[in-house]
Every structure is written in C-alpha cells, then in structure tokens.
C-alpha cells in the first residue's frame, strides 16, 4: 500500500430518510453483523439525514446495510491526532485556513488508550488537505490504525 493511500481513512455514509426508527434500524443491522462503530456523526436536514461512521470493517458494514436496502457510500476522509487539551483543533483548522482549504465536515472522538483526540475530517479536496497538513507537520494517522483502534 502506498504511503498516500494509507493516509486516507475509509468512512461509510448512509442515507437516512427523516422517519421514525430509521437510525435504529441502521444500528440494528450493524449490531447484527457484529460491527463495532469507532466514531459516528449525523448530518441532518429537514428531508433526510446522512449518517457517517468509522467502523473497523467498512466493507462488511456496507454489505450488511445494503442487504437491508440502505444506500451506502464508502469514501475517504482524513484522521488527525490532536492533543485532548485547549487549542488542539484550533491549530489544525488554522493550518487548513491558511492553505485556503475548505472543510466539508468534521467530527472527533477521544482515544481511550492515550490522551489524544482523533479528528475525522473531510476537505473539499482530500489530497490538498493531506498535503497542507503534512507540510505543517500535523500527524495524520495511518488509516489501518484508526479502523483497528
């Protein structure tokens, strides 16, 4: 696997209709398939929601959800480690702002085994995002590591 590829983390996103019980149904499918969710965020609009998740096995998760008629996409995001203390995210976003890179969305979770927080982010141009972060010596996590955390 190339170094570049390793920096891109696989995320699955699921289309959810704004209807009672749909989020539960998605979780129920994943639990049935024994898939653990590392991180999750939901973007909601008046008409629909987008459920985004980092799971240890995106391929399996996609398969299970699709079998239950969910629309699922797998796409690439960047995972960055920041110190779980004031200013952590500020530095990260400052770098992207400086490089004039637009952030589509981000969400974060705290890693239990260390005192670090992990920020999952999607820049408009993922490669440009990676390049800018690397140039500023920000630690992009190895995708395999994150999925397996």
């Amino acid at each position: 696997m190339s170094e570049d590829k390793r920096r891109k983390l696989k995320q699955i996103s699921v289309f959810l209709e704004n209807r009672k019980g749909r989020l539960w149904k998605a979780m129920n499918v994943l639990s049935g398939a024994k898939i653990n969710i590392r991180a999750l965020s939901i973007a909601d609009t008046s008409g629909f929601g987008i459920l985004r998740m980092i799971v240890h096995n995106p391929k399996e998760a996609k398969k299970a959800l699709e079998a239950d008629n969910f629309v699922v996409k797998v796409n690439e995001v960047i995972a960055v480690e920041v110190m779980d203390e004031p200013g952590g995210l500020d530095e990260l976003l400052g770098v992207l702002n400086q490089a004039d890179i637009n952030v589509e969305y981000l969400y974060a979770f705290v890693e239990k085994k260390s005192d670090k927080a992990i920020v999952v982010l999607r820049t408009e141009d993922v490669d440009a995002g990676i390049a800018a972060l690397e140039a500023s010596n920000i630690n992009i996590l190895n995708a395999d590591d994150v999925n397996l955390l």
Binding site: E17, F48, V71
Partner: protein, 433 residues
C-alpha cells in the same frame, strides 16, 4: 339574467329536434371534409345517413386526445385555413399540443356561449370584467374576452399574474366580475387581506372560476372572502374553450350549452352510454362548429348529467361539478400534468431508479406537487451540499418538463409501494369530492 332566452329555455322536444338536425349536419360536414372522420366512419361502417335519431350518435366512434394530437397542426380542420380566423392550442406539455381552429362564425358562437356564461353571473353592459385568465394560445383569456365583449361589458384584459397590479385594478377600476382559476381567486383574496382591503371596499359581485377542479368548500371560502357569488365555468380547447358549460345562481350544477355541444356520459371501462344521473366520463360532440367539428370527444372528466328545468328557468342539461379524471392526468394550478412526463424527466437523471410517487396536495389554496424518488448510490453522497444539489437538479429537470415547480424528496430504496399491476404513481390528497 338570461342572455338568450330562446336558446336557453327551449322545450325538450324543440331542443331535441334542433340537436338532431345539427348532429346530422355536423356528421355530414366532418365526413365530407375531414379525412380522419371519413376514414373512421368508413371503418365503422357508418355513413352520415345512418344518423336518424339522437341515439344513433352511439354508432359514431370516439375521438380521443391522441387522435387530435396526431392531426397536429391542422389535420382536423374542415375548412381551408383561409377561413380560419383564430387558432388556439392546449399547453402541449404531454407532447404535441392539440390545435383548435375557429372560423368567424365559430368565434361568434364562442362569444355567444361565454356571453351566456357571464350573464349567469349577472353580467350586463354596465359591468367591468377583470379577466385574469391567461391571454395567448391558451383559450381562457380570449374566450372570456370574446364573451365579455358580446355582452357589452368593459373587459380588462389583465391576464394572469402580477397580483399587486390585479389588486390595484380591482380597487381603482372598481371591477365587478372576476374571471380566473379558483386557486388564483383565493390567492387574490389573501393578498387583499394582507393589504388590509376589506371585502366591503371592493365592488366585485361575481366570479366565474374554472380551468381546474374545486370543491364546494372552496366556493364558500371564496364567496366569504371576496364577498361575491362564485360560479363554476367549464370548457376545453378541443371543444371550443371556456363556455361549454357554466353554473347559474342556483349553484347546483353547470348548464351545458347543449344546443351547441351535445353531451353523453359513458362508462370509461366498457365505453357504454350511461343513463341520466349516473357518474361516468363526459363525451362531447360539437353541433355547430365549422372550423373544427369534433365528434364524440372523450374528455376524461368524470361527472353526471341531469335533465329537467332548472330553478333559473333554463332547460340546458346540467352536469355535476367535475370530481375526477378517467385517466391519471393531474390538473395542477390549471396545468395538465401526466405522471409519464415526470417519469420522463426523472429518467434523464443518470443513476435514477424509476421508482417514484407523485403527491398532490393543496396545503393552503394553491396546489402543490411533491415527487418522491428513491435514493440510489448515484444520487447519494456523504455531503449534504451535494445531495441537495442533486434534488435541486431533479426539481429543475421536472420543471423544464412540466412547467411547474415541484418539491423533490429522496426516500429510502424500496420504501415506495410496489404493485403487481399498474403502479400507483399518483396520490391526490386534494379531496375534490
């Protein structure tokens, strides 16, 4: 107010005699001058001489919208275009429009029937008719215009839209009769209220509303808010335009001007003629048109006929308010929409699943269309922005196809109902009964 007492209050035998004579004439004219009819009657083994009684009309094959469309543009004309002085068309949203051609005499007849309609609303030469039906190829605007002038009213050819201006004119010109779609009348009422204009402050006394289905509740609402008598007008481009039928002040059914348009009700499935009072599809034959005679046109509108003298003194047969269609056509804010058009628009989108459902509602007083489509990997992405772009582009595609703004909602795959037979594509929640 009866515009033409002789024609409108004829005794039954007198009327039937006139109808038969006119029917024989029109069949003969159609047979001799329109190749389409000659072919059709020949194929059915009918000659004009076979029309010996009014019942004999049942021998004549039906004419459908697609027959008229196939004849686009002038194939149904029974006279040379030299003698046609005006043409109108349907909107043509479902393919080629159907064309209607009028000779000078046809325009005179059109003016006459609309004059009768406006007179039912009390119009006299003293009245000021604010005509907010669209002018142009659509028959509404000019049809009412011809009739209003025949009565001798002052006609304001303001056409549809620009509500602010409509309100100004209602106040400044002191319009007494309003002609538009019922939903537009409701909208005008709302704007008047918003501007703080009281019903007592305007001079409207009657409204002649049509071009879409509406209910008794809506009539009551319009009457209360605009302080006028709201009457139902019916017509269609294929037959002449507005003025095929109109309600009198009794407000319980529309008088069909049956000395010019001969009505029948058929069962849309068996195509058999139904007796008086039974609900079915309205079929119309033009008895007097020169430019474009139309025999047994299937309107697809569902209604029932009622004979007998009306409280107003007229003997024209009455038809009930239209409550539905015998096909899946929708009339949204006066515009005809077929599910097939929406399907065509949807299928232009790459990756679109052909599963959709159309939901018509009337949340306030204007019709709304929602189109639900099933999300698919091609339409979906992890970004809200992108998914919204997709729904907007579907909305635009549909708008380009049908000329109406709709709301597109993405639903989950497999969530729209499937059926074994004909899919239920349209859910009409407008409650027209």
């Amino acid at each position: 107010m009866i515009y033409n007492e002789k024609a409108e209050c004829m005794s039954a035998p007198e009327k039937e005699g006139l109808q038969l004579k006119r029917l024989q004439d029109v069949v003969k004219r159609a047979y001799e001058n329109v190749p389409y009819y000659r072919k059709k009657l020949d194929a059915a083994g009918i000659t004009p001489a076979d029309i010996q009684s009014l019942e004999d009309i049942e021998k004549i094959p039906f004419t459908t919208k697609s027959d008229l469309r196939d004849a686009y543009p002038f194939g149904m004309f029974a006279v040379s275009t030299d003698d046609i002085v005006e043409v109108h068309t349907t909107s043509g949203t479902t393919g080629k429009p159907t064309v209607s051609g009028y000779t000078a005499k046809d325009l005179d007849i059109w003016g006459e029937v609309v004059a009768r309609a406006l007179s039912m609303a009390g119009a006299t030469r003293k009245d000021i008719v604010q005509n907010c039906y669209g002018y142009g190829l659509f028959t509404g605007g000019l049809g009412v215009h011809h009739g209003g002038q025949k009565v001798g009213c002052t006609v304001i050819p303001i056409s549809a839209g620009n509500t602010q201006r409509q309100i100004e004119i209602i106040q400044d010109f002191k319009s007494t009769i309003l002609t538009c779609t019922p939903s537009y009348a409701m909208y005008i009422a709302e704007v008047l209220e918003r501007e703080g204009v009281l019903p007592e402050d305007i001079k409207l006394k009657a409204g002649v509303f049509g071009a879409e289905m509406w209910t008794e509740e809506m009539r009551n609402e319009i009457e209360r808010r605009l302080n006028l008598d709201a009457l139902n007008i019916y017509g269609l481009t294929e037959i002449i335009g507005p003025g095929v039928a109109n309600e009198c002040m009794e407000k319980n059914g529309l008088h069909i001007f049956d000395d010019h348009f001969y009505p029948e009700i058929i069962d849309p499935q068996t195509l058999e003629t139904l007796p008086e009072g039974e609900k079915g599809e309205l079929v119309l034959t033009t008895l007097t048109r020169e430019g474009m005679p139309v025999l047994r046109f299937r309107t697809r509108d569902i209604t029932a006929l009622r004979k007998g003298e009306c409280g107003c003194g007229r003997t024209h047969v009455k038809m009930d308010r239209i409550t539905g269609r015998s096909d899946d056509m929708l009339k949204i804010r006066g515009v005809i929409v077929f599910p097939s058009q929406i399907e065509r628009a949807l299928l232009k989108i790459p990756g679109m699943e052909p599963n959709y459902q159309i939901i018509a509602t009337r949340p306030e007083h204007l019709d709304e269309l929602e189109v639900q489509v099933e999300a698919s990997p091609a339409l979906f992405s992890d970004e809200v922005k992108h998914v919204e772009q997709v729904t907007r582009s579907i909305e635009k595609q549909i708008h380009d196809e049908i000329g109406l703004r709709v709301t597109v909602s993405l639903v989950e795959p497999q969530s729209l109902p499937r059926s074994e037979g004909k899919a239920v594509r349209v859910i009409d929640k407008r409650d027209m009964s």
